[in-house]
Amino acid sequence: MAGDGFGVVAVAIDEATESVRGLAEGITYPVLMDPDHVLTELYAISNVPAVVWIDERGRIARPNASEFGSDMFSEYSGRTRQGHFDQVRAWVRRGVVPDDAGSEVADLDDDELAARLHFRLAAHLRRTGDEDGAASHFDAAARLAPLDFTVVRAAMPLRGGDPFGEEFFALLEHYQAAGSPFHGISPSRHAG
């Protein structure tokens, strides 16, 4: 869709530059690094992927939605890559937005906001070699926002854990038991 007045800006909620570089191989649009999770604060993002449609005037045409670049999770999400692509094309070419574009995104509450500040401080302390200080703020962040993937799962690799291992599945179980609280258009809302 290049040349249609359309572009993509990708932001990695991540500090693992080399891992992101691997994921970004062959991608021609800008891939930005957000090690301090600024985007999750500005857009009330609680998990990735989260895709926001922004129009020519800087207005949000469709808010945070869980859209995957592959169909690996289609069975879980009820969404396909092609389905999202077709919707984006209709928006770019004809200005048509899907029915869910008017969905509201819940604002962050005070605890979720504080969790982001604790995460940022923990990541900073870790970079400066203060592992104990980092651990205490990662813990504080997780207490404040225990089901927020950008807080809890993102911290796993920074704490020597495995974001694809047992602790991730434990988080997923808690998250689903709590009704999968997602800030934006979640997989369950697609299905509904």
């Binding site: 800006v9 909620i13 500005l42 990735v48 895709v51 926001v52 449609w53 949000i60 604002d107």
Partner: protein
Amino acid sequence: MKTITILGEEVTTVSGEWADGRPLIKPEDLPAATGWTLKPEGLCRGDQCVMVGDGSAIRVGDKLDLAAVANAADQPALVDADAGVVVVGRPNAARRAAVHDRLAPDFTLADLEGVSHRLSDYADKKRLLVAFSSW
């Protein structure tokens, strides 16, 4: 005097002191540390000013409390006196504009080669903003 590290839009340091866990600096150091200047009309940055009344919420003696200054400017703050750090979040108004008014907050971040990009560099186009990660 101690060095206080501020994690805001940038990481900056300022000379100050901690009193009962509160990060205090001299008013004249505020602009370099935070971008805000204390004027008779309030806390000002560019052409924007926030009223702070008699200033009692942000003043401790002849010093200013950095966290209170952030809160007065509607930015969340977190202090860790042991680490000597104050974390200042983005203005709450920016997120509320996104959530309630559907105005996309602008931001500046570096790409994989360290080159800065602003979301608004791509204005006048329809854009997909895609948040992803390796975790």
